[in-house]
């Protein structure tokens, strides 16, 4: 059976692969969206956090012999600590200023961070193998899918919806959301609002780092890896509606799939398909699909 000249099996495989790429978009745009929604900072350094997540995974393995599984926790923790320092020392001074200041600061940070890694490791990148337990391929009916990619898909769904639940459905999340709206009022209840903001920045960055760890075995690990993906992720956040968590998550998966389909029907346009959607969405809704 063929759909528009493409065999059904091949089409389903491409949808599946698109979903998996979408899971990276979803996790990255989620972190970006939390930081934007909670801190009102357009964090251009998000791609650098993703890159550091992948690089720390390689470094942990290369220098300390620490494997993939501990790195899933350790690399995001390390990046989280770096994010805390960045927030405390730099970002914090910009909350009352126009968005453009945050964007410029974080853009500068990208240049510094990427420059440091490039200086030490050049751009050619580092090898990172797929963890032993997840090597090989699994038959999922219409295709043989690398087992590791299935793990990525599952892990990202759990992480994304877990985060959504945490923010939208728990007391902690409610407090956090309240602190954004009325920090003065929340502070009168004895809650340390600045610390909460710092931890939110760290959490968003750690999410990016976690995507980096998941990416290390399948994408090239190099200092520029964040740059190539972050522009797409920004588009996903805009399409999903700035600051809308559920919009970012669903947007990530849907747009990944759309990009996958473009790769079958008109591969030359795969790079711009998401941006075309972004233009249309902005023209029609002006604030993204789930935006307010």
């Amino acid at each position: 059976m063929e759909i528009f000249g493409v065999p059904l099996n091949l089409l389903l495989s491409q949808v599946m692969l698109g979903l998996i790429n979408g899971s990276f978009y979803a996790m990255l745009s989620l972190g970006l969206c939390i930081i934007f929604g909670m801190l009102d900072i357009v964090n251009f350094a998000h791609g650098a956090m993703y890159m550091m997540g992948a690089f720390f995974t390689w470094m942990l393995g290369h220098y300390l012999g620490i494997g993939y599984w501990p790195s899933l926790i350790l690399a995001p923790l390390l990046v989280g600590v770096i994010a805390i320092v960045i927030e405390r020392v730099l970002v914090r001074h910009l909350y009352d200023l126009h968005h453009i200041y945050g964007l410029l600061l974080t853009f500068g940070l990208v240049l510094v961070i990427v420059g440091i890694f490039r200086g030490f490791y050049s751009v050619s990148g580092k090898p990172y193998p797929i963890p032993e337990a997840l090597t090989g391929v699994t038959n999922i009916g219409f295709m043989y899918m690398p087992t590791y990619r299935l793990w990525v898909l599952g892990a990202s769904i759990v992480v994304c919806f877990g985060t959504w639940l945490l923010i939208e459905r728990t007391r902690l999340g409610a407090t956090l959301r309240a602190a954004i709206e009325r920090p003065d009022l929340v502070a009168t209840f004895g809650i340390n609002v600045p610390r909460m903001i710092t931890l939110t920045f760290a959490f968003g960055s750690a999410l990016a780092a976690l995507s980096g760890v998941l990416a290390a075995p399948i994408y090239p690990v190099n200092p520029l890896m964040g740059e190539s993906i972050i522009v797409v992720v920004f588009a996903v956040v805009v399409i999903g509606g700035l600051g809308s968590i559920i919009g970012s998550i669903i947007g990530g998966f849907v747009l990944g799939t759309l990009e996958g389909l473009t790769k079958v029907y008109y591969p030359e346009a795969s790079h711009i398909s998401i941006f075309i959607v972004m233009m249309i969405v902005l023209l029609v809704t002006r604030s993204g699909i789930a935006g307010k």
Partner: protein
């Protein structure tokens, strides 16, 4: 009024003559910090500096200066660097030039401003066909000579159906056309192709399409991070282990093997214009290079040295830095160094020299750092490069 005009022209001429006598200025243009900078980049700078030092730092009694331009792997930056250098900054010769689209523009600028371009990075065979000029030489590999290396070896083993996985810009399109010619000449056939954007992240979709095509060989026509991602993901999908289709990265350097590791790349075959461990001569130069750069040279870096060195030799021999005279001298002089073997510069501006088919060693075979390739076959330049084309290249028409 007429007098004034003459006076102005005369003073301009004196001014020009003044600069013409000044030092020899070489510009190295390339991706110094972007995604492809591991292929040539800062390593090429070291190579060019070595070439200048080997000339004693001067030629015709004038000091040689070097300027660096970073195009960040963007064609439009490449062309604007070339224009600025030729027009305003008195650069005599540009070496490197790593994007085919930018390189084509650069050589036409060289002709317009009557300067020299020594294209040692970009590969488009158009540079010696419809875009040939009396002001440049294409120093090293081209899309035709590299695609001539692989098909014959593949078809002889019964792998005769080819599917291209190609990057969507000038270099990719030109190499695909040249490879098709070579494949058909070797008795193979092309069953399809897929184009991907430069700097794509995930290649699994393209790999699946290549698998589904029923092809026996998939030449991967891209470079740098794109190649690394393609090979990494072909491994992930089990294509490399299965051995069908055979994946052949068409631009594959030491930097790519370093990024992927030997385990993930063992037994891959690729064309090359140079390998540091080829013989004692190449090893001796490469050891010197490594002392300064910390890594063994890629073929791009060796080409940058060779191009610079021979340009300076030609200036010395010609006794002038006049662009067209230098290029003519290059075409008549003997070419021989650790890089270019059995080499000469053809009338259309192509450096013709031996090409190699290399195989990536297994981790067990590799005897140390950067011991990555084994030279499996040597293809003479006359067999590898396309015949000169008088219909396309204007230099061959009178």
């Amino acid at each position: 009024m007429k007098k004034l005009k003459t006076l102005l022209m005369a003073s301009a001429a004196i001014g020009l003559a003044g600069t013409a006598q000044a030092d020899i200025k070489i510009g190295l243009a390339g991706d110094m910090s972007g995604k492809q900078s591991a292929l040539a980049g800062p390593g090429s700078q070291v190579a060019v500096e070595m070439a200048i030092e080997d000339m004693g730092g001067e030629v015709l009694g004038e000091p040689i200066t070097l300027v660096i331009g970073d195009n960040q792997h963007k064609a439009e930056l490449e062309a604007s660097i070339a224009r600025r250098w030729y027009e305003d900054e008195d650069v005599d010769a540009i070496v490197g030039i790593n994007l085919s689209s930018g390189a084509i523009e650069t050589v036409h600028l060289a002709e317009r401003f009557d300067k020299v371009a020594m294209v040692s990075d970009a590969g488009s065979s158009r540079l010696v066909q419809e875009d040939c000029t009396p002001n440049h030489v294409h120093w090293g590999w081209n899309t035709y000579s590299f695609s001539a290396v692989v098909p014959k070896a593949m078809v002889e083993k019964g792998n005769d159906k080819f599917f291209f996985l190609t990057v969507d810009y000038t270099f990719g399109h030109d190499m695909m056309a040249d490879a098709t010619t070579n494949i058909e000449a070797a008795g193979g056939s092309v069953v399809g192709s897929v184009l991907h954007p430069l700097g794509a992240n995930d290649f699994s979709a393209y790999i699946l399409q290549a698998q589904a095509s029923g092809a026996s060989v998939v030449p991967v026509i891209n470079s740098g991070a794109d190649t690394v991602a393609t090979i990494k993901q072909a491994g992930e999908f089990g294509v490399l282990d299965a051995g069908t289709p055979v994946i052949v990265p068409m631009i594959f350097t030491l930097a790519d093997v370093e990024a992927l590791g030997l385990e993930a790349t063992k037994n891959l075959r690729a064309p090359s214009s140079f390998y540091w461990g080829r013989d004692d001569e190449s090893r001796a130069w490469s050891e010197k290079f490594k002392e300064r750069f910390g890594k063994m040279p890629t073929f791009f870096q060796a080409q940058a040295y060779s191009a610079t060195y021979h340009y300076l030799k030609a200036v010395e021999k010609a006794g002038t830095k006049d662009a067209k005279t230098v290029i003519k001298t290059l075409k008549s002089m003997e070419i021989d160094d650790f890089f270019a073997k059995n080499a000469y510069v053809r009338e259309d501006g192509q450096l013709v020299h031996d090409m190699y088919l290399v195989r990536v060693k297994t981790p067990e075979e590799s005897e140390g750092e950067f011991d990555f390739f084994e030279v499996e076959a040597t293809i003479s330049g006359d067999d590898a490069y396309q015949p000169m084309d008088p219909e396309a290249c204007k230099l061959l028409q009178d």
